[in-house]
């Protein structure tokens, strides 16, 4: 009988002193990878899916345009609008916006500015082609249609 009882003497405490370190490690990971949302989205964004995605290497070259139906339809109407930074703009203002964005880049990179267009699924091609025409006018011809990966079936 007493043969088996001996084992119960061992303490079963798990040392938890390293737990804070582990949690801190996780914390730092998220702190480094996180990008706090700089702007409130004023338009709806359901990004379409695609398979042939490419990732851009230089993030500083990217400027974002959001296109979609405004969330606040009472104020902005229900037609698709363009959001740049924090405000809704109309298509002719894009040239000015592109020039502002381009001025923020170092001189050597100005030709490489890339516009990432985050376009809602529901938008039709009409407004998009207007935006593209303006981008051509502004000579910002590198365009990225932002999309999420599709699981091939």
């Amino acid at each position: 009988m007493s043969k088996f009882k001996k084992k119960t003497n061992t303490s079963t405490n798990i040392p938890t002193s390293a737990l804070p370190d582990i949690i801190f490690m996780l914390l730092f990971f998220f702190m480094v990878t996180t990008v706090l949302r700089e702007q409130d989205l004023l338009v709806e964004q359901k990004i379409p899916q695609a398979t042939q995605l490419q990732k851009l290497q230089k993030k500083t070259l990217i400027s974002y345009l959001f296109i979609g139906k405004p969330k606040n339809t009472g104020l902005y109407g229900s037609e698709p609008r363009i959001q740049a930074n924090d405000v809704l703009i109309s298509a002719p203002e894009i040239v000015q916006w592109v020039n502002q964005e381009r001025d923020m880049l170092p001189e050597s990179d100005r030709g490489l500015i890339t516009i990432s267009m985050k376009i809602d699924k529901e938008v039709k091609m009409g407004p998009i082609s207007d935006v593209q025409t303006e981008l051509r006018n502004a000579d910002a011809r590198r365009v990225l249609y932002a999309s999420t990966g599709k699981v091939p079936n």
């Binding site: 938890t16 002193s17 737990l19 804070p20 949690i23 801190f24 996780l26 914390l27 998220f30 702190m31 990878t33 996180t34 990008v35 706090l36 949302r37 379409p48 695609a50 398979t51 042939q52 995605l53 490419q54 990732k55 851009l56 290497q57 993030k59 990217i62 037609e79 890339t114 990432s116 376009i119 809602d120 699924k121 529901e122 938008v123 039709k124 091609m125 009409g126 407004p127 998009i128 082609s129 593209q132 981008l135 051509r136 006018n137 000579d139 011809r141 590198r142 365009v143 990225l144 249609y145 932002a146 999309s147 999420t148 990966g149």
Partner: protein
């Protein structure tokens, strides 16, 4: 008197440290949006100079792969009606690699291709002459949905990436993820693309069904 105090154990209770860290962790977990800068890259054509009339491009009809998408999201591919873009990628691939009437330069290109790609050349007279001439043209209406347009564009890109990848012995996915940052991947990238330009033309949309 003063000594007595220094003898006391001055260890800070670190038991709640984990809780504090957890709190911070959860805050960052909630606020984080891992940036997704992924997408399909498209290079727009340069702005037309109003003083210079657009160049008169004479291209044989057989060298253009026409895809029309109307405001009802129906497709017209090479004059043929269809409902879904399924299978378009392999058709575009066949079109690019057709080698119907290659010139000398294209023959050199043809001979440099691996056998698996050479076997795909169907040499039909009504399809493209050679990859340098071949153009995939996508034309939409203003009322076409962006989702379908992107799907078709995606398939056209897929066809090209598959060719590029196969040329250097990679899958399309592997080829696409080449960064071009180091010598080796840059070399592979260039070898895949060489002589086969990615010619996807996006035509100005018709004014139908939109605003």
């Amino acid at each position: 008197m003063a000594r007595k105090k220094s003898r006391e154990v001055t260890e800070v209770n670190a038991g709640s440290m984990a809780d504090i860290a957890f709190l911070l962790l959860i805050f960052f977990l909630v606020t984080t949006t891992i940036a997704s800068d992924k997408g399909i890259l498209n290079i727009l054509p340069p702005k037309l100079d109003p003083n210079i009339p657009p160049p008169d491009i004479k291209k044989n009809e057989r060298n253009i792969f026409n895809i029309l998408i109307n405001a009802n999201d129906d497709l017209l591919v090479e004059g043929e009606y269809r409902r879904t873009p399924e299978g378009l990628d392999s058709e575009i691939k066949d079109f690019i690699l057709n080698f119907g009437a290659p010139d000398e330069e294209a023959l050199v290109l043809f001979n440099s291709l691996p056998a698996s790609l050479q076997a795909q050349a169907q040499r039909r007279p009504e399809s493209s002459d050679h990859p340098k001439e071949a153009v995939v043209s996508i034309k939409t209406d203003r009322g076409t949905s962006y989702e379908l347009y992107l799907e078709v564009f995606d398939l056209a890109k897929k066809a090209y990436f598959e060719i590029y990848g196969e040329r250097v012995g990679l899958g399309a996915d592997e080829y696409r993820t080449l960064t071009g940052n180091d010598e080796a991947s840059k070399l592979l990238q260039d070898r895949g693309k060489e002589g086969i330009p990615m010619a996807i033309s996006i035509a100005e949309p018709n004014k139908i069904g939109g605003n």
